[in-house]
Amino acid sequence: MDGIFFALLSDAMTVPDDYIRISGLSKTFDQGRAGAMLALSNINCTIACGSFVTVVGPSGCGKSTLLRIVAGLLDYSEGSVVLDGQAVKGTRRDVGVVFQSSILLPWRTIIENVLLPAEVLGLDMEAARERAMQLIHMVKLDGFENKLPRQLSGGMQQRASIARALLHDPKILLMDEPFGALDAMTRELMNLELQRIWRESGKTVILITHSIPEAIFLGDQVFVMTPRPGALDRVIPIDLQRPRAMSVMGDPVFTAASEQIRTLFEHTGSFD
């Protein structure tokens, strides 16, 4: 019954499996007298609408550069990046970005921070305020909306920044090591929360991480990158049911994927 419904629905909406298409993407940083540094080399991939893709790679492999290019914050040297049929030429409003740190503006209360995209994009403030309250509820910050960022813990601040990234209802959520600064316990909790938020919101998510377990736990697919110049080494599909619980980490599929990524890293010298 569910299957038939989904088939009809997907037929009608034709969910594209190349919602995000990156072809032959390279990025060279001009370093003046030090010459040019190739950061990304010939990246090709497609990402389906509504899927959760995680990107792992050793530090300095250009993961963040890739994300900044998709976000339109950084231009690229060669190739093309197409989101929803449109080439990326700069920042766009159907994309929300969550950065490594929460970057909440310290002089704004939590709700004012969450409302920032509405102010910048000139949205209807009344509707935005209502949506902000819903998002604050979704990231479980009820009662903290009028607090200042410094009155919240690191995990709560990062949750607020996720709510902010979702305020203008972007179709694509780009996350650059959003939980890297959090302690292990909070991080696991945030992974569970993020899975829930993703399932509730139906966004297409690209999440950069250097944690292999995090990548497998969250991803429908894990993109494994090589050391600099960063290239896409392998795309590993993770066939684990949703919603996933932390106990999934003991599942043979999980450990096999983990083993596979570690082996890839050893081959490319990512652990050196």
């Binding site: 950065f99 503006l105 920032l116 910048v120 410094r150």
Partner: protein, 266 residues
């Protein structure tokens, strides 16, 4: 409880110091043109204040003149300082080009050019306002530039990721980020503006507390001079605490101790 105790201790210390002053003046028969007794100072203060505000030999009139100079000079000088800081922050190349000029002019003690400014602009209020402008302009400009330069680039990225315009980036991220620095410049400027007014009036003026001090000095009316000092301190305290109150409101989001660290006085 503790701060209340400290306040009483401060008052007690004041009483002891005043008693020592009065006692030694009487005991050692110090002439009143060197160090006046407390009673002389109090009398001078009373005589200066118990007149009509427009009386040209009273403290009110001269205080008013000096206060107008201070406020005009402070607002003009620091206003231009912030405005130029903003302009420079939007154009890094301009900053690079004018940086040596700022450094050169800043190293010149502005007090040294006071006589020339009085010569150019006369004994009226404008020469004093100009001097205060010069004194307050630099600290505000320098701290503004520093404030705009030290802004966290992540905040700009955040605004850019939302396709913000240049003006939105400035208004929502850059300017609020620079405000703590700007306020530290304004605090220095407030202290400098009182100095500027008095120095300007010493060099040449028709009215003002500096003029009053010079007149009383000439008449060896040291008690009168001391009375003017008290008025000057009161003006200084009023300026500083007003500024601090404004700062407390504007920077309410900062932890209290770090906001206080930024209040510099000279």
């Amino acid at each position: 409880m503790n701060s209340k105790n400290n306040r009483w201790a401060s008052l007690a210390l004041l009483a002891v110091l005043l008693a020592l002053w009065e006692g030694s003046v009487r005991l050692f028969h110090i002439p009143k043109f060197l160090v006046p007794s407390l009673i002389d100072v109090a009398a001078a203060l009373w005589n200066g204040l118990a007149v009509a505000p427009w009386a040209k030999d009273g403290l009110w009139y001269h205080s008013g003149v000096t206060l107008v100079e201070i406020l005009l000079g402070f607002f003009l000088g620091s206003g231009i300082g912030v405005a130029l800081g903003v302009a420079v922050s939007q154009a890094p190349r301009v900053e690079a080009v004018i940086a040596p000029f700022i450094a050169a002019f800043q190293s010149l003690p502005k007090v040294a050019i006071t006589p020339i400014i009085v010569m150019w602009m006369g004994f009226g209020i404008s020469s004093k306002v100009t001097i205060i402008c010069l004194l307050t302009f630099f600290p505000v400009l320098i701290t503004s530039i520093a404030g705009f330069r030290t802004i966290d680039p992540d905040r700009i990225d955040l605004l850019r990721s939302l396709s913000a315009t240049r003006w939105q980036v400035f208004r929502k991220a850059k300017f609020p980020s620079a405000l703590p620095f700007i306020f530290s410049g304004l605090n220095i400027a407030a202290a400098f503006s009182v100095v500027g007014a008095i120095v300007g009036e010493f060099v040449g003026a028709q009215a003002g507390l500096g003029v009053l001090i010079m007149q009383m000095d000439a008449q060896m009316d040291t008690g009168g001079s001391f009375a003017v000092f008290i008025v000057l301190s009161t003006i200084g305290i009023a300026l500083t605490s007003t500024l601090r109150a404004v700062q407390g409101r504007v920077l309410h989001w900062m932890p209290a101790d770090s906001a206080h660290q930024r209040t510099v006085s000279a």
